[in-house]
Symmetry: none
Subunit: 281 residues, 2 copies
């Protein structure tokens, strides 16, 4: 009879499949939920902006804006799903939100990154307008490194909560392509950036710093369980942190790309008032 | 009283309509679910790309891009349905995902292929810009063969799990149009490909290899029960394998078509900066 009074959802939590979510204060639960909703709104708004903004830049740069639109569109979809998964993972019980027993699918993030991280690097290479021969090989190696980085992080992420060794191993493997990407961005692409107009150079440098700052958060969040940073506070910090980083690294990054493309379009004589190129004779 | 404690979902599995799904470890269940979600995101992102990318190629090639958009749009819809069907087919029980008794509708794939496989061949023929007389008959015979291949595979797929004979028979029948399609692609279209600019020829050859590699997976998955490859591992391998192949054979294939169309547009003097064709005089 006592058993019959326990809601079935809470019973599921006793023998949960996958990670058991910590109980949250309503404010904690809502903060995460609202951060997800913020991200959905931002990503879809950015999608509309990047689609429409194409007409404001020279045709050759429109492809990078289109890729920006795809990135935030894909991210908007995933945040919508993450928000739904979060809602399903909790039930209000007494004055707290407790785990419903339905797993929170954090792995949507990996699915998202597997698609969007290579595309973010593609945006960057496209707006640089490298010579065709160089741009092809640059696109291939950066996309492959990005996909490898995400794919090798995943087994560590889905490893059992106590299995720190597995997490550490995959985390270390995943760091190799990450460092390689940074090397390419900061070393190999340095010369190409130096060949840009000064205004654009500043933006490129800002963009690399944005990448470093936001992408740098992911390994930190990944390592949180190593240092025993778990429980309600950790869950909220990681979820809100991921969301802020995703918004900056995708929508914010896309706006930087747009500004670079605007400056380059103007410098090349393309004007908003007409598609005509100023003659260089 | 003991019976009352068995969840109704698990009871359903006892007398299931159709195939009984194997119990899965949470990581297996999630891997398949996330692969489906990955495909949904990729297909719809590709849809947006192919719609917008039309403005980047000469008007005569836009129809093939439009067909690419239809293919990935249709596939995105079907993966969304497959994802929902997968979710409905399983319930968490203890530390595992067990069959809920609600059949997993794998046949969505056949519905999808019946539409998309002929369209994929249409894309290819359209981007080749064959003479009108030849293109019409090529479209008819390839589309018919593709539809026949899918339609004759279906009765074998839905045959009872133990009925290997029925599966083998329909599988064999379905192989006839498959081989015919390969014959047309590798023999009859060979001359047309040779008449293209060298850059485009490489892409055409890559595309045929992509078709062979990805389409080749379907008969292998179809034959898995013949060799006793069933159970949890097999289910996961087949579902993830199908998903990867569909993403490559539809979105990846469309990107190849786009690149071919770009190269041909440029070679014919069409430029991104204006719709005007350069005069050849």
């Amino acid at each position: 009879m006592v058993l019959a009074e326990v809601p079935s959802a809470a019973m599921g939590a006793v023998a949960a499949v996958g990670k058991v979510m910590p109980s949250l204060h309503p404010n904690q639960y809502s903060l995460v939920f609202n951060a997800f909703s913020f991200s959905v709104a931002t990503m879809f708004a950015a999608f509309v902006f990047f689609v429409i903004a194409q007409s404001r830049i020279a045709p050759k740069y429109r492809i990078s804006m289109m890729v920006s639109a795809l990135v935030v569109g894909i991210a908007g979809y995933h945040y919508f799903r993450i928000m739904g998964s979060w809602e399903g993972a909790y039930v209000a019980q007494g004055t707290m939100y407790v785990f419903s027993g339905k797993p929170f699918n954090d792995a949507y993030r990996y699915v998202d990154w597997l698609l969007t991280v290579p595309l973010l690097l593609v945006e960057l290479v496209l707006v640089m307008s490298l010579p065709k021969s160089k741009s092809g090989s640059m696109l291939t190696k950066l996309s492959l490194a990005a996909a490898l980085m995400i794919a090798t992080g995943y087994p560590g992420e889905v490893a059992a909560a106590g299995d720190i060794a597995t997490r550490a191993m995959w985390g270390a493997i995943s760091t190799v392509p990450f460092v390689y990407i940074l090397y390419v961005l900061f070393k190999e692409l340095g010369d190409t950036i130096a060949a840009h107009p000064p205004e654009a150079q500043v933006l490129f440098r800002n963009m690399r710093l944005l990448l470093l700052a936001t992408w740098g958060f992911y390994p930190i969040a990944y390592m949180a369980p190593f240092v025993g940073f778990t429980g309600a506070g950790a869950e909220v910090a990681v979820q809100v942190g991921y969301t802020i980083c995703d918004v900056l690294a995708k929508a914010g990054y896309g706006v930087l790309i747009y500004n670079i493309a605007r400056i380059k379009s103007e410098n090349e004589g393309w004007s908003l008032d007409g598609t005509a190129k100023a003659s260089h004779t």
